[in-house]
């Protein structure tokens, strides 16, 4: 059993769609509705769910699939295919390589940085953290605690300092000290705030002028987020060159189904997922695991 499935089976053991469909020998008329509703309940979204079901119906006709099991397998394959396209490795090119973390408020940017830093630390890679969230009260204190845990250097400005310059300084520091990786935090911002999104573009611009390479801009997305996740991804991708998604809080009972729409419409892959509170609970995304876990979704009511 994969880790993600384990986390999810920990949640609740109500009967899943999968097991329910397996029980049915024949394909009932309810199958299509149930499959669509299962997807909707996983936050896949009405539009994407419908198109998935339409496609499945076509396949059923073409390939003469008649049993619920066959169809479920086929649906899973389709879902996996959507997510399978792109690389999950985090790019470490550059001297230093710079990873900038962006996202709306409260999704877990700072925590994800802490987890990634301690993972790198365990690999023997030294990192510099940049406290680019100069807006939220005590954000750099939060990062400071992580920095101490994994023995890394934290570069911070004063409260209300220009985040671009804090991150730039961190890059220059890493460069001169030959530290290969900079993890840059930014303040959480709602994607609808134009001025804050402009600030983000500026951060990217300024960071690119430093001695290193902006290797990743990671959009941190809360798995409990519903359909608004797509808007978030669109707006952030419009402001900066988002290279991947970190899907956090998958250890709750939410499924993060919005990533299908994001992958299909914007083509941004999920690279890492957060499945727990411990520092090792940030793991590389595996589409197969993710889709299987989706089907273990407890059916309500």
């Amino acid at each position: 059993m994969s880790r993600i499935s384990k986390e999810i089976s920990k949640t609740r053991n109500k009967f899943s769609l999968f097991s329910k469909l397996q029980k049915d020998r024949k394909l009932g008329p309810d199958f299509w509705t149930e499959a669509e509703e299962m997807l909707i309940q996983a936050d896949v979204g009405v539009k994407t769910s419908r198109s998935l079901i339409v496609k499945l119906k076509e396949q059923a006709k073409e390939q003469k699939l008649a049993s619920p099991q066959e169809l479920t397998t086929c649906l899973k394959q389709n879902l996996k295919q959507i997510l399978s396209s792109s690389g999950r490795e985090l790019n470490t090119r550059g001297n230093p390589a710079v990873w900038i973390f962006v996202g709306v408020n409260g999704v877990g940017k700072t925590t994800s940085i802490g987890k990634l830093a301690s993972w790198q630390y365990s690999l023997g890679v030294q990192v510099v953290m940049a406290a680019g969230d100069t807006f939220r009260a005590a954000a750099s204190e939060q990062l400071e605690e992580w920095a101490q845990k994994c023995n890394s250097i934290l570069i911070r400005g004063g409260e209300g300092a220009d985040p671009s310059s804090v991150i730039f300084d961190a890059i220059e520091h890493a460069h001169s000290a030959s530290i290969p990786l900079v993890l840059a935090d930014t303040a959480g911002r709602l994607h609808t705030k134009t001025n804050l999104m402009d600030e983000l573009s500026k951060i990217e611009r300024v960071a690119s002028k430093g001695s290193g390479t902006v290797a990743e801009i990671l959009l941190t997305l809360d798995a409990t987020t519903g359909q608004n996740g797509l808007e978030q991804a669109k707006k952030f991708a419009a402001a900066v060159d988002v290279t991947g998604i970190i899907l956090t809080k998958l250890d709750g009972s939410s499924r993060g189904g919005i990533i299908f729409a994001i992958q299909e419409e914007i083509g941004i892959p999920v690279k890492y997922i957060g499945i727990g509170e411990q520092s090792q609970d940030l793991i590389q995304f595996d589409p197969d695991d993710f889709v299987e876990a989706l089907f273990d979704f407890p059916l309500e009511n």
């Binding site: 309940q41 709306v104 204190e141 359909q227 808007e231 009972s253």
Partner: protein, 475 residues
Amino acid sequence: MFDTLTDRLGDIFGRLRSKGRLSESQINEVLDEVRMALLEADVNLQVAKDFQESVFSRCVETEIHKALNPAQQVIKSVNEELVSILGGEALAISFAEKPPTIVLLAGLQGVGKTTNAVKLARWFKSQGRNPLLVGADLQRPAAVEQLRTLAESIDVPVFSQESDPVTVVSQGIEKARKTGRDVVICDTAGRLTIDEEMMQEIRQISDAIEPHYTFLVVDAMTGQDAVNIAESFHNQLALDAMIITKLDGDARGGAALSAKSVVGKPIAFASIGENIEDFEQFHPDRLASRILGMGDVLTLIEKAEDAFDEEEAKRATQKLISGEFTLEDFLDQMQQLKKMGPLENIMGMMPDLPPGADPSDVDESRLVRMEAIITSMTVAERHSPVIIDGSRRSRIAKGSGTSVQEVSSLLKQFKEIKRMMKGSAKPRKKSKRKGANKRKKSKPSSRVKQKSHLETPDSGTTGEFDLSDFGTFSN
């Protein structure tokens, strides 16, 4: 994504307009679209289904299919139902006889508990209270630090210490008693609903302090899981109300409806921005429109209902048909239109504007000038504009701060409207009345045409979407 419901309903309305009556399956067709919109707004699937069912039976019971403009009536019922579910009973905060009044905040990680604890403290302060904030989130690094910094900005003291959360809150309340603080707001650690241990901990906190109010903080961006979240917290804590956060984004906030349906407790506050003062008491009607994603159409329905007195509209129509329509009536109609808000907005609200019509083309100032011109006339002039000769024109122009040309053009326009109004009365029996035979064909500008519909709400001859559709609600 945001306009889809408005668009789709526009399509349905278009098809149904000619029919006038709705069959049950047509009601369901409209409601299917509504359910889609609810799901797209992240309303929980089961909640959306139940909602659809209850609105359907309401529509059938009230024989909505026999009403005028039934499709819009369906939408109106949907909105009313939504507002009533979201609103329900408001939370009236009463204060403990023996202070302090204790408020406990709970919620998942990252929903904004700490920020909202401070926002709430500010709100209590504005109510003339002396709050104390207690930082019992000892999990997240620097959470207490964040609380202190924010609280400092609104000059509210914070109590916290390094021990366990239960001790912190108990001591905090003790401290409030000693220092004469009459409200205590306890910030707790964010937790996962499925984390038994953490849920138990907040229950212990709750048991230890027996809060007067327990608020669940809900993120407006939450998806389908909102139901489970609210349910789990409610099972543990017996919630009193909810605070919905991040409403300043563009999430449609269906989570609020889901949570409300499960918990049945009011949404007391809404957080609408990053600053401490961006916090207000909750307005269910605003969120209802937002969840439906068709706020503008609803607003328009409501505004038209508010602004247009049906009886008055009928009187005006009668007058028009009988040729008694005066500049005074014209002024009345203009003022009614203005009551609905800026013209540009009203135009923007219309689901299907004639092609090429651009709301921003509407020149509001012209309406104001027209009004000024008419009010500068004497009563006699308003009743029989024919008496307005050259010298009267220049007096009116001076009095209204306009030019003689403008006065002339208004008079010309008025004449045209009158002529056209008689024209539109043709297909009805009433057209046999005197004056109808004087009708001449005229091709009015689209703007005049629109206005003409306003004045003949029951003319029944309109092929396009027009405001008169909204002017005839029977209730």
